[in-house]
Amino acid sequence: MTQKSKIFPSVDAVVADIPDGASIVFGGFGGAGFPNNLIQGLARKGSKNLSVISNNCGTGEGELGILFKNRQIRHVTAAFPGPGATYFQEQFDKNEVELELVPQGILCERLRAHGAGIPAFFSPVGVGTEIAKGKEERVIGGRRCILERSIGADYAFIKAFRADQLGNLVFRKGARNFNPVMATAAKTTIVEVEEIVEVGALDPEVIVTPFIFVHRIVVAKGLRYV
């Protein structure tokens, strides 16, 4: 391996430089594939005024919940904040946190576009709804479409099952979800994994996220909030 080592000794070390005001995308869906150790590390670090992107807004103190409880988040972009997101909902009701609600597939595609170098795209999703407010509309191929801008972040916090020492990643079942696309959409992608194996130990046919998208790796045993 001739690349500089991406492996960090601890969760606290891997999030130690996250500044106030950072933008961060978080993987995870349906209780699976959340980088819960990284989130807990960020809660300990205490970075404030964060702008975050995630499918949902936590379950009680679990997942993103602890960051809302600690009032570390100023703005969130989400598809489904969720009935369990009690700390977010409390702050939302008092106008203490900003929300941009985005259709889930469009959230994926805006992230994908950012990672792929596409600044914006037209889509029929949300035409005629609240989502279309303020967006340019055009008829393309006979279909009404709205302009969606790509979305990226300073950091991606993701969870994979296994990495090799270069940062090639494999995932586990439904815990893959948003993690691969989010890995492409940030300047610095940080991944927590169950284990790290030697370079060459992962079958190239099954690597889902190639190491080019991964900048920091830390081993942390899965934390789950069900």
């Binding site: 349906g30 909902q89 609600l101 259709p103 889930q104 893959r176 691969p180 889902v208």
Partner: protein, 227 residues
């Protein structure tokens, strides 16, 4: 004085009869999710989940749950032979790209033109949530909405124009309720079936737009047990 309508389970069981053999299907929260238990014998469908699964089987037995293998409602599930895993963006290539044969969503209102409102009640507390509903509604080859025909307060939910926040325009093909099966056609709403014991005139009284029908309207299947 009010006659019994179909239960939520019976709505789901009737909706399940709309699923063709071999179809790839996404089910939304609520009544749609109940449909999985009523797929008729001899029919194989491949259930899709937004987190990247095609080919979900029944709920995992107690003690054998794998919490990395969950549906969109966080319920631990199993896989059927031929199942696959993929990423969320590919799950939505399937929804938005028109690759799913049938999608079943819940509804708060459906309009005469097939507009759907299903994600927020006006004036309700909280932020609401769209999830995958807008992508699914826009892309489904065939969209079925399952819901109670009227609200708990008796308000009509099949309306001329939705006044709830919209999910998508002109997307609904069929509405299955506790009172009727209704198809959305270019000519308007066609009453295909009525709940046992109800007349087309009664269904019309619970429905704001005009319902088209002629002659004897058949009765809906009202399941008495799970398959």
């Amino acid at each position: 004085m009010s006659k019994p309508r179909l239960t939520r389970e019976q709505i789901a069981a009737r909706a399940a009869l709309e699923l063709p053999d071999g179809a790839c299907v996404n089910l939304g929260w609520g009544i749609p999710n109940l449909t999985a238990a009523y797929v008729p014998h001899g029919v194989t469908v491949y259930f899709h989940s937004e987190n990247g699964i095609l080919g979900m089987g029944p709920r995992a037995p107690k003690g054998q749950e794998d919490f990395d293998l969950v549906d969109a409602m966080k319920v631990p599930v199993t896989l059927v032979p031929g199942a696959s895993f993929f990423a969320q963006e590919d799950a939505h290539v399937m929804t938005r790209g028109g690759h799913l044969d049938v999608c079943i969503l819940g509804g708060l209102q459906v309009s005469e033109r097939g507009d759907l409102a299903n994600w927020r009640v006006p004036g309700a507390r909280g932020a609401g949530g769209i999830g995958g509903a807008m992508d699914i509604a826009v892309g489904a080859k065939r969209l079925i909405v399952t819901m109670e025909h009227t609200s708990k307060e008796g308000a009509r939910k099949i309306v001329k124009v939705c006044d709830y926040p919209l999910t998508a325009l002109e997307c609904v093909n069929t509405i299955v309720t506790d009172l009727a099966v209704i198809d959305v056609t270019p000519q308007g709403l066609t009453l295909r079936e009525v709940a046992p014991g109800f007349t087309p005139e009664e269904i019309q009284s619970f429905t704001e737009p005009e319902l088209h029908y002629s002659g004897q309207v058949p009765e809906m299947f009202a399941s008495t047990s799970k398959n």
